[in-house]
């Protein structure tokens, strides 16, 4: 048998052994045996001396090829064995993916806060600044500068918690109109502000009344602000807070600090305008009051009502939340049952 044939025989046998190896340990033994210094190839090559110098390179090169082929076969087979082993391991690691995940602590913003943030963000986008004012207010700002002098009958509409004759718990966020107007420098630009906050009324708490609730006041004063701008702004708000399908309508009303004054209705949430018990079959639900700022309010705050004018509106986030989610008791907002609070977790909207 020639040396070459011997090598071929080693190769065939080696490849067959590799192929039959069924674990990594065995495979490694085969590799060490075949390619090692004491292995058959090394042994066979000892016979190379007996060959002619011309034949030697050719056989040497052949031997190298065999080594390469074996190395490759080992590597391939190792991969196969490793994959099989991994698959076997993965099969044992199978879990029930329907078991519940580990709970993670996560708090929620209060539903009224969510609505206030939504309104504030919308108006920030329209160039309004956010102002906040005191909850304990002077009669002067809460009433007098809002065109509600002492003894004005409309004061009866708002029962007030007084701390003294002149100091009270604000009954509305409207005093922020007077405060903002007093401070604003119109040479710097128009006044566009939104003012969220807590207000208080001397009411007995029941499902539809709370002695504490929230308001968001809006005010825009410049040289060319119209009631059509008010209407457009309110439509924008309704559609952003409630959805594109919502429309608004204005109805005449009376507030001492606006003239004209309007109540604003929005498409009924429950029936989307078809008429139902919730909207007393009108298709509309009253959501806010608004109007063109009364010239007296501007004058009292030192603003020239012949040059400047604009609109104001007051929104009740509590009412918005009640309508939007169908909450039927306003007290739920202030009693803080965590099962109630944690339902309003839709932050992205």
């Amino acid at each position: 048998m020639s040396l070459r044939d011997k090598l071929s025989e080693i190769k065939e046998k080696g490849l067959a052994d590799i192929d039959q190896a069924n674990d990594l340990k065995k495979l490694n033994e085969i590799r060490v045996h075949l390619l090692g210094k004491k292995g058959p190839i090394t042994a066979a090559l000892r016979g190379i001396k007996e060959l002619t110098p011309e034949e030697r390179p050719e056989v040497g090169s052949y031997a190298n090829k065999i080594r390469d082929a074996i190395t490759e076969a080992v590597s391939n087979h190792r991969e196969e064995l490793e994959t099989a082993q991994l698959n076997q391991q993965l099969a044992t690691e199978k879990i029930d993916v329907t078991l519940p995940g580990k709970p993670v602590a996560q708090g929620q913003p209060h539903v009224i806060q969510q609505i206030i943030d939504q309104i504030v963000d919308l108006f920030l986008g329209m160039g309004y600044e956010v102002l906040t004012g005191p909850e304990v207010e002077e009669d002067k700002y809460n009433f007098e500068m809002m065109n509600l002098p002492k003894n004005h009958p409309a004061r009866d509409m708002q029962d007030t918690f007084y701390l003294s004759r002149e100091i009270l718990m604000r009954t509305q966020t409207s005093p922020m109109q007077a405060r903002a107007l007093e401070k604003h420098d119109f040479s710097e630009g128009p006044l566009k502000m939104i003012s969220p906050g807590i207000v208080y009324r001397r009411d007995t708490d029941d499902p539809t009344h709370s002695h504490q609730f929230h308001q968001v006041e809006g005010l825009v004063i410049d040289e060319h602000i119209t009631m059509a701008d008010l209407k457009g702004t309110l439509i924008t708000m309704a559609q952003n807070i409630f959805g594109d399908k919502f429309d608004i309508r204005l109805r005449p009303s009376y507030f001492p600090f606006t003239e004209p004054s309007v109540e604003v209705d929005v498409t009924c949430f429950n029936c989307m305008g078809k008429g139902c018990d919730v909207c007393k079959h009108t298709g509309w639900i009253e959501v806010l009051g608004a109007g063109m700022v009364h010239p007296n309010v501007l004058k009292m705050a030192g603003v020239d009502s012949d040059v400047y004018g604009g609109f104001a509106f007051g929104v009740g986030p509590d009412r918005f939340a009640m309508l939007r989610y169908g909450v039927d008791d306003i007290r739920d907002f202030y009693l803080n049952d965590v099962r109630f609070l944690n339902q309003f977790s839709k932050r992205g909207n």
Partner: protein
């Protein structure tokens, strides 16, 4: 104001359904509370004629009536009404009819006698007891003789008339009358109603001046007029008048009183009728004197205030002006001569009087909102004419006028340009003029100006803005364009403080606390708890309930109320925070408190639900401390946060509460609620913190913090020591920091142990120390030296045993 649709139709050509009319009113004028037709829901109620009647053999009060209901055979109906009698025409509920309160009437037997239906009283078919005339209050109603038998009853009781209940805003007092509403609808529907001036048929032989005289303080009554009618015969009013009154929610009394109420509804002018023979001498309109008393028509006694306006004769007050008449001078069945009063009383006084005596009447409501000065005389004239028509008698010649008021009609000038500037419309001057024509306001065009004269009946209109509103609502708000403000641009951004307050909420929510909003008004006891600075409580002058009398000086008591509310509903795990204001006062005589933003949190029970792989531990001090610490770290406030044990809060556990300070500024506290307080609130073991949010806002922030991450490897050394139990972690850490050398980067406590293998009064503490040199690779020898130094100092300074 309950407005009869039928009555409106006497003046206007209206044929739309009442609901549509109401909708139009609501869109253009004032809110509508309801539209109701009294007959809705009733069934098979007809006029019956009692042919004969006999006593029920088994009863001492029931009668067996034979009633003709327009069918072939009369019905046998058992009736127990005390006033039932043969020959009457009555309300019959036929078998299978439906009466008030959705009650079905069936054929039945009453004490063995068959009864085919029921003879009804007014309140049984849905009338409020408040409007049923006294004569029918305790029995069945009896129709006039001319009512046809067998016909449905509704028309004959006015129950087929849609009643539109207007919710009139304070400025639209003019709409508290039929005539005012007619003017409004005339504008809406562009019609010209004819409103006739009353003509009075006076008796020339009788002179009012000779019969009575009156004086009035014109500050109290701008207008005060009286007329006299003599020889009247008091009787119930005819059905048409009674119907008008009860449909408006007013109980018919007698022909004279009913006329005054009818005029009140028609003109919005409250009138009062006195029995002339019960008045002694001259009438004066004046303030009540101190100590004077008056019994009003409702037989209530009132101690009068000197702020009340009274009508008085020469002896005593005889009426509480504009609110209610006096009992002693009222019209009774024997009254022959009457004095009718038509006046304008000062609205402010009337409002106060109505409030003071809790007597809000149809009259006071109208005087409060204003009276049309041009209608006072007409109302009086129509009243005496109608009294003569219904009660007979003679109208004395002339009117006693103690004061009179006819204001000059205001003229307001507007332009189309200004109108459009405010409304955003593009109306032309003649279009605007047409709107005022519809409203019945006369106007004259003068160049680009329109001079509008405001009729006396619209006393709510004073300035151009009022006219813009009239234009807008008649033009229709639906027709207004919808635009957004244009002009100079502004930027809308949150201030740094506002951004921080938002971040605060997000951080706390991220670590597991849900936002609560509690009541700011609480009890004095709760308001005074958890005080972070000395302060007097702020009290309401007239609280509504005992639970809400005082402004809070802490947020925690509100949150504990919330925890209690949850516990009471079997919710044991609560994790809440609140961001809000507390109200501090330096001294009791300071009226207005300072408002300070605070933030507070509470946790009790588990922060997450126990689950198959979530083995939770109930909240403890170190959980809430970790939260509060992470919260403050996230705010990026400059300086170290330190925690010092405190027993200064009586409501907190004295051994488990820490004062928190940042760079030496006290900002609040964290700890366990005192078990006694927890018991008082009925809550379980609860942990809490409260921080001065304003201080956190004001403290300087690490705005530009950045440090390159060290490129060289760090070296760790662990150390375990045994120290006296009294030694605090803070002492150990501070010592290590001070003595740790330049490269000591981090100290982490990884074990605390007391018990077996540690002597009594000692504890074992184990720390992991990390050393880093940002400029080169640290050598072991350097670290060893530093580490040995720490060991030495711990032993020397804290008597620590190194393990």
């Amino acid at each position: 104001m309950k407005v009869s649709y039928k009555w409106l139709k006497q003046y206007l050509d209206l044929d739309m359904p009442a609901k549509d009319l109401a909708e139009k009113i609501e869109r253009t004028a004032v809110e509508v509370d309801s539209v109701k037709v009294a007959e809705d829901g009733l069934k098979k109620l007809v006029v019956g004629h009692i042919l004969s009647m006999k006593d029920h053999p088994e009863s001492d009060h029931l009668h067996i009536c034979s009633v003709d209901v327009g069918e072939d055979e009369p019905l046998q109906i058992v009736c127990g009404a005390p006033n039932v009698a043969a020959g009457q025409k009555v309300i019959v509920a036929l078998p299978n009819s439906r009466i008030g309160g959705n009650v079905k009437i069936k054929r039945s037997k009453m004490r063995g006698v068959e009864s085919s239906g029921m003879i009804c009283a007014l309140d049984e078919i849905g009338f409020s007891k408040d409007v049923v005339p006294k004569e029918w209050a305790d029995g069945i109603y009896v129709f006039d003789d001319d009512v046809p038998v067998g016909e449905p009853i509704y028309h004959y009781l006015g129950m087929d008339d849609p009643i539109i209940d207007l919710d009139v805003t304070p400025n639209r007092g003019d709409m508290l009358s039929i005539i005012g509403t007619v003017h409004e609808l005339a504008a809406i529907y562009d019609q010209q109603p004819e409103i006739k001036k009353p003509v009075v048929d006076e008796d020339a032989t009788l002179d009012a001046q000779a019969e009575i005289s009156a004086t009035a303080d014109s500050k109290l009554a701008k207008t005060y007029k009286l007329r006299v009618v003599e020889d009247v015969k008091i009787a119930p009013s005819p059905a048409w008048l009674q119907i008008i009154l009860w449909n408006a929610g007013i109980r018919p009394i007698n022909n004279v009183v009913d006329v005054t109420n009818y005029i009140l509804l028609k003109y919005g002018q409250p009138l009062h009728s006195f029995d002339k023979d019960k008045i002694n001498g001259n009438i004066t309109v004046r303030n009540a004197a101190k100590g004077e008393k008056l019994t009003t028509l409702d037989e209530d006694n009132h101690e009068l205030s000197t702020e009340d306006i009274v009508i008085a004769d020469q002896d005593q007050p005889i009426a509480l002006a504009g609110v209610m008449g006096g009992f002693n001078t009222q019209i009774d069945n024997d009254t022959q001569n009457v004095v009718i009063e038509s006046a304008i009383f000062d609205s402010f006084h009337i409002r106060k009087t109505a409030q003071r005596h809790v007597l809000h009447t149809e009259a006071s409501q109208r005087f409060e909102r204003g009276i049309n000065p041009d209608g006072v005389a007409d109302a009086l004239n129509e009243a005496v004419s109608l009294i003569k028509q219904l009660a007979g008698g003679k109208i004395a010649k002339g009117t006693i006028t103690a004061s009179d008021y006819h204001p000059e009609l205001p003229v307001i000038s507007i332009t189309a340009e200004r109108t459009n500037h405010v409304l955003g419309t593009s109306l032309k001057l003649d279009e605007i003029k047409a709107i005022f024509d519809r409203l019945g306001f006369s106007s004259i065009t003068d160049g680009d100006q329109l001079q509008v004269t405001i009729p006396a009946r619209r006393w709510d209109i004073h300035i151009d803005a009022d006219l813009f509103e009239e234009v807008a609502r008649i033009y229709g708000y639906d027709n207004l364009p919808a635009t957004l403000p244009t002009g100079r641009q502004t930027i809308g951004v949150l201030t740094a403080a506002q951004r921080l307050q938002r971040a605060v909420r997000q951080i706390l929510e991220g670590i597991g606390l849900t936002q609560a909003i509690s009541y700011s008004l609480t009890t004095e006891e709760k308001a005074k708890m958890f005080l972070m600075q000395s302060s007097e409580p702020t009290q309401l002058l007239w609280p509504m309930t005992q639970d809400h009398t005082t402004l809070r000086m802490n947020l925690l008591s509100g949150l504990l109320d919330d925890v209690a509310y949850n516990h009471a509903r079997k919710v044991d795990d609560v994790a809440l925070y609140e961001s809000g204001r507390v109200f501090y006062k330096d001294s009791a005589d300071q009226v207005r408190p300072k408002e300070v933003e605070h933030i507070a949190g509470v946790i009790t029970g588990n922060l997450t639900n126990p689950s198959w792989n979530n083995h939770v531990k109930a909240a403890d001090f170190f959980l809430i401390k970790g939260m509060v610490n992470q919260f403050i770290v996230n705010l990026g406030i400059k300086g170290d946060i330190s925690y010092t044990a405190t027993d200064q809060y009586p409501e907190m556990h004295p051994g488990r509460t820490a004062e928190i300070s940042i760079h030496g500024h006290d900002v609040g506290f964290v700890g366990q609620i005192h078990p006694q307080i927890a018991k008082k609130f009925k809550i379980k073991e609860t942990y809490a913190f409260e921080l001065d949010m304003q201080a956190l806002i004001d403290l300087p922030k690490n705005d530009d913090q950045y440090q390159a991450v060290a490129k060289y490897p760090s070296i760790k050394r662990d150390i375990s020591i045994i120290v006296d139990s009294e030694i605090t972690n803070d002492q150990i850490v501070q010592l290590m920091q001070k003595r740790g050398g330049a490269y000591l980067h981090e100290i982490r406590l990884f074990d605390v142990y007391e018990g077996k293998n540690v002597p009594d009064g000692k504890k074992s503490m184990a720390y992991s120390l990390t050393y880093v040199n940002p400029r080169e690779t640290l050598k072991d020898e350097v670290v060893n030296t530093a580490f040995e130094k720490i060991k030495k100092r711990l032993t020397a300074d804290l008597n620590a045993e190194i393990r």
